[in-house]
Amino acid sequence: MSNIPSELRYVKSHEWTSMEEDGVVTVGVTEHAQSLLGDLVFVELPEVGTIVSAGDESGVVESVKAASDIYAPVSGEIIEVNENLSDSPELINSDPYGDGWIFKIQLSEVCEMDNLLTADEYQELVESEE
């Protein structure tokens, strides 16, 4: 059974998000996604300052066996990326919801957060895919 923290919001493409009060949204991939990918060996991070729309390709995580795009869950500006992943992509395997975060977006449309899945909804999605 995958760990799906209830306080986070999710996207069908297996990213998680967490929003701070200042409208900064942290994005990573879920534990379920990292376990499907296996040992991660490379992360292509977006550039800080990039303006993204919800659904845009905003990075790539690669395991030994496959490459997987990371999509922006919401629209806004990329304001920070997790540089530690350049040398230690395995942080996504060991701590997907913590040290394995990938980038932060300054949200442009707060209402977009309502489009994301709750933990229960994401749980259902994961179970339906298994």
């Binding site: 296996g38 040992d39 060996v41 490379f42 292509e44 690669e62 030994v64 066996k65 490459a67």
Partner: protein
């Protein structure tokens, strides 16, 4: 309906993640593909390769049959108990499969084929067999294990019977022996020392359990692929298909041209290709920056010519992106690889990348 090997339940018990590999349900890994890879490079790992097709070629014309069937020459096997790697070609020189042939005696050769090509191979082998006095006997009663790594042989030796131990202890690379029910060959697909063992299926459970008790790590198809890629060993269906010949697949060394009188399937087409000059070759590519190479990525030479990556991965041993590629034969020392629309610099090397745990290029 997918096939299961006899060890299917044992794999689940060892926490295997199972995938469908050419209609066989096999472990891709037992937790971490990368750790399994390191185990084989540094210690010992065991792979269930029972999906592979074992065929015994029997009869007075077994040698003549094989001398026609494959491009390497079984006449090179001067004494019993030796193995030969070769390709099997169609009449156009296209590679139908790559295989190992084990010389048991003059009327008995054992052939190990890929699982993915089983039907095609057997149809072809049976067709050719019509012209020879041979019988083909597929051994579905047998299973197969590969135990690989610098400590693989020592660890296997701890649980063999004294008789078996005595039989296998003098094997040199590419030699094999039948020891009781165990057909033990000092061959493999990882670039490390070790054994490939063919045994009656009912006995595989006991052997597997003994291997695990001896501290040999179960390894899945994932590690098998990264190990063989680092070792520069081709994978049929990926690095070569019927559209390729041994001459453009890095396997010219498996074509035995002498004696000239020996006719083998594909010989005329290969000779023609050789006389025109082979314009492509297989090389290893090492990505200069960070990233992972993948099958199908475009290779661009300094002079603007194109090649393609046939197998790519991230090398667990070297910590860089590596790939095998079919490229123009004048590629030089450096090239570019197109990854997601951007060009990345890569170094061209002579294969392999790794052998016996060591980096093999500057």
């Amino acid at each position: 309906m997918a096939n299961k090997t006899a060890l299917y339940q044992a794999h689940l018990d060892a926490s295997a993640k199972i995938v469908d590999f050419h209609h066989w349900l096999l472990p891709i890994h037992y937790g971490s593909q990368v750790e399994e890879h390191h185990h084989v490079r540094q210690d010992a790992g065991i792979f269930d390769v029972s999906h592979m097709t074992v065929v015994d070629v029997l009869g007075p014309a077994a040698r003549d049959y094989l001398r026609y069937l494959v491009c390497n020459d079984v006449d090179k096997l001067k004494s019993r108990g030796k193995a030969l790697y070769t390709c099997m070609l169609d009449q156009h020189g296209g590679i139908l499969d790559d295989l190992l042939i084990y010389f048991v005696d003059e009327q008995n050769y054992r052939v190990v084929l890929n699982a993915a090509t089983r039907e095609k191979d057997l149809a072809w082998m049976n067709k050719i067999a019509n012209d020879f006095s041979v019988g083909l006997h597929e051994r579905q009663d047998l299973s197969m294990l590969a135990i690989q790594g610098p400590k693989a042989r020592d660890k296997v030796h701890t649980f063999l019977t004294p008789l078996q131990l005595d039989a296998v202890s003098t094997l040199t690379p590419f030699e094999f022996i039948q020891a009781d029910d165990l057909f033990v060959a000092r061959t493999g697909y990882t670039g490390e020392d070790g054994y490939e063992i063919i045994l009656p299926t009912p006995q595989i459970h006991e052997f597997w359990a003994a291997a695990l008790s001896a501290g040999i790590q179960p390894c899945g198809l994932g590690a098998r692929d990264t190990l063989r890629l680092e070792a520069g060993l081709n994978l049929y269906g990926q690095d070569m298909t019927e559209k390729n010949t041994p001459l453009d697949s890095g396997l010219a060394w498996t074509v035995t041209w002498e004696p000239k009188e020996r006719l083998f399937s594909g010989r005329a087409a290969l000779a023609l290709q050789r006389s025109k000059g082979v314009k492509q070759k297989m090389v290893g590519l090492v990505l200069e920056g960070k990233g992972v190479l993948r099958h199908g990525q475009k290779v661009i030479t300094a002079s603007g010519e194109m090649g393609v990556i046939t197998s790519g991965t991230f090398s667990p041993t070297l910590g860089v992106g590596i790939g095998m590629a079919r490229v123009p034969d004048d590629i030089g020392q450096n090239c570019f690889i197109e990854i997601r629309g951007k060009q990345h610099a890569a170094k061209v090397i002579k294969l392999p990348f790794v052998r016996h745990g060591k980096k093999m290029f500057e």
